[in-house]
Amino acid sequence: MKRNILILVVLTILIVAGCSLVPQQPQGPAAPSGGGDEGAAVPAGSGLSADAAAIAQARGLSPDDVTAALKTYMPTGVHDDYLIFASGGHSGQMLVIGAPSMRLLKVIGVFTPEPWQGWGYGAGNEVLDEGNIDGREVRWADTHHPALSETGGDYDGQFVFINDKANSRVATIDLRDFETKQIVKNPVAINDHGATMVTPNTEYVIEGGQYAAPLGWEYAALDDYNTTYRGLVTFWKFDREAGRLDPANSFAIELPPYWQDLCDAGKLVSEGWVFCNSFNAERATGGIEDGNPPFEAGASQGDTDFMHLINLVKAEEVYKAGNFNTVNDFPVISLQTAIDENILYLTPEPKSPHGVDVTPDGEFLVVSGKLDPHVTVYSFDKMMATIEAKKWDTDDYGIPILALDDVKEAQVEVGLGPLHTQFDNQGYAYTSLFLDSAVARWSLGGSFSDLHPEEPWQLVSKISVHYNIGHLLTAEGDTVSPDGQYLVAMNKWAIDRFQHVGPLLPQNFQLIDIANTGDNMQLLYDMPIGIGEPHYAQMIKADKLSPWDVYPEIGWDPSTQSVSPNAVHPGEEKVVRNGKEVEVFMTAVRSHFTPEHVEIKQGDHVTWHITNIERAYDATHGFSIPGYNINLSIEPGEYISFEFDADQPGVFSYYCTEFCSALHLEMTGYLLIEPGPDSSAMIQK
C-alpha cells in the first residue's frame, strides 16, 4: 500500500515537473494590434484630464454631453452589450444595430433583393419567390414589427420574425447565420399590421390584420362593408426544429371589420390569451370626395374602440376539432364560431388606440388612445372574473362586450398622443407620446409597486425626443424579465437633428439611459436611419445569441441548414454537359476559382454549383457574372447554386466581388459562351 502511494507521488512529481518546463504559450486572443491600450482610463470619481477638458471646451460639449459620449463610446474591438433588431421600414429589410454604441452592424435581406448578400441575385431567389402574390413578383415590403423568438416568455436568441404590412407577409430569419429562411404570404388577408408577435414559447407567430376587406382578396362593394368586409388574425404555427412557419398547422380567426391594429400575447397568468386593439369601431368607410367624412374623422367619431380578447387555447381546440371554414384552402374560424365557442370578447378602449402591451407579469394590459392623454390599464384578473360572471352586452355581430368599468385597473394621464408602452426592471412603464414628442415614465401598480419609490399608477417624469416618436423599445422590454438600462425612441421626424441631405430626411433613433430611478433619464445618442421608416425594434442581450463564425461544414446549404448533396469539394470540380443542360461544379478559395475556364454554348441552360471551401473567419468570397445579373456572397463553408439561360453569347469575366486577399483581383475566370443557333431558331428549322 505504502509502495503504491510512493509510486503515485513520484509520478505526480515527474508530471508536474514536466508541465512546468512547457514554454509560456500565448493565452487566448493576442493583444489587439494597435489601440486597445488599457491603463489610460481616468480613475472613477476624478475630473476629466486637462486634454479631455480642453477638447470638450473646444467642441462646446457640456458635462452631460461628455457623460453621454462616455456611456456610448466603444473602443476598437470592444463589443456592444445589446443587439437591436429593427424593422427596415420600406426597405423591406431588417437592421441589426449594436447598443449602446448604435453602430449599424448589418442589413439583413428579407423581402427585397440585397446585392451585398447576393440576396435575389442568385441566392435566396426561392425564398423571395415565396413572397410572390398570385405569381406577381413583389420585391418591396413595408416591414413593421420584428419579433424575437421566445422561450418561457423571454427572448431566446434563435429566430426573429418580421411582417410586411402592405402585402400581409411574414418572414422567418435564422439567427445562426442571420439569413432569411422563409416568407409566407397570408392566403386570406391582403394587408396586416398586428404582426409579428410571438406566444411565450413561440408556439405561434401572430399576424393581426389592419384594413378590413373581403376575406381571400375577393371583391365586394363598400355598400356591403358591414356584412362582407372582415378583420382577421392569423396564428402561424412555428416549427422550431425545422426553423420554419408551418402553414399546414396554422389557422386564422375572422374578426369584425373594426380595423384591428396591434396585438400582444398574454404571458404568465395571461398565457393562452391574445389581445388586439382596433381603431375603427365606427366602421367608417371614408369617401371624402363624395362629401363623406374622411377616414381620419369618420374613424375617430366614437369615444371608444374595441380591444379584442382572444382565447387562443380555445381557438386551437376548435381548429383541431375541424370546426372551421377554408378561404383559399386556409382554415378560418368564422366569427359566429368564435362567438359560440367563447373564443372572442371585446372591451372598450379610449379613442383610436395604438398598441396594447402586456406587463411583464402578464397581469395588466396597457392601451393608449392616440386622441386621449391617458393610458388605460386593464386587469386580466378582472377580465376573467367578468367573463366568468357572464356579465356583458353584445355588439352588432353578437360579440360579448365587457364593460370598461368592470375590467379597468387604472388610468394614468401621461401626455398628448400616447402610443406604445414598454417596461423596465424597476417597476416603470414607458409610453411614447407622439404629439408631445416625448417619452413618459410612469409607475406601475400591483406586484410592481414595491420596485419603485413612487405611488403606483403615476406619471414620474418625461423626456423630450426629436421628433414625433412612434414606437419605443427598452432592453428586452416586452418580455417577462425586462433589463431596463436603455430605451430607444424611434422618431419619425428628424428635422434639424442631422446635416441636411435634401428633402427626404433620415429617421432618428434616440438612445436614452433609463438606468436611474425617478426624474433622471438622459438622452445619449442620435442615430440616423437612412434606409426606410422602421416601425418597431427589439433589443436583446448580445450574449443570448450564438451565431456561427463560419458555416459548420464545407458545402453547407443555408436554405436547408445542412450539407448539400451537390457540395463541391477540392479536386471534384468539373463541368458536366447533358444535352443543353450544363452543370458547373466550382470551388472558391483564396485566391482562385476552380475551374477558371467555363466554355458553353449559347442556348445552354446552366446550373452553377459553387462552394467556398474556406474555414477562416471572415474569408468570404463574392461571385459575379456580368450581364447575367448574378452576384453572390459565399461565406466560408457555404454552398450556393443558381441557374440561368445562356442566351447572350460572348466572353464574360466572372470574378470575386469581395476583396478577399492580396491576390483578389486575380480571383477571376472566363465564361466563354460560343454563339450558336438558339433553341427558338432550332425549332423554326
Binding site: 515527474l14 504559450q25 474555414r615 491576390l663
Partner: protein
Amino acid sequence: MMAADKFENIVGPRAPQEELAAHRMRYIWPTLCMAGAAILIIISIFLPYWSLVLHAPQYPQGLVVNAYVNHLEGDVSEIDGLNHYIGMRPLGEAAHLERSISIFAISALALVVLAAVFIHSPWSALLALPAILLPPVFLADLYFWLSNFGQNLDPKAALSNAVKPFTPTILGEGIIGQFKTVAYADFGLLLASAASILILVGLYLQRRAYKPLRDKKSAE
C-alpha cells in the same frame, strides 16, 4: 548448457529472498522508474508533440497547428491555404510513413522498456535505447520535413519571388512574411523527454542494485 548460460547472462541475476527482504526498495526503484517511463510514453501518444503558432494582424487569435505523432490538428487547412501562395506543399503530405507506423512503433518501444525491467544486465540498456532516443529522433525527423518543405517551394507559386526557400524554425521564434511564428515542444514531447530521463535514472538504479549480484555470481 552453453545456451542456458548465455541466456542467464543476458537476463541477469535475480535477487535472493533474504536480500529482497533486507533491501526491498533498492530493487523496486528501477522497476518504478522504467514502468513509469513506459506509462508516460503511452500517454504522450495522445498529446501534441510539437506546436506552431502564427501571428499576423488579420488573425487576432493566431493560427495554431498541433503535431501529434500520427496526425495534425488546428488551423491546418488555413495554414495550407496560406502556404499555397509561397508554393509550399500541404502539411498533410509530410511524414506519411512515420505517421502510419507511429502508434504501433511507440507502443512497441514502451513495451520493450517494460521488458527491460526484467533484464538485470547491461542488455537492458539496449532494450531501453529506442525509447531514450524517441525525443531527439522526433525532432530530427521534424527538422527533416520542415526543411524539405521549406526548401522545395513551387517556383510557379504566386509569391515565389517574395519568399525564398527557407527552413522554418523548429523551436523558438521566426518570421515569414507578415507572420511571426512561435514553435515549441508540446506536452507529448515533454512527457517523452521526461520518460527518457526516467529510463536513464532507472537504468542507473538497476545497475546499482544488480551489479553486485552479477559480480558476486561471476566471482563464483
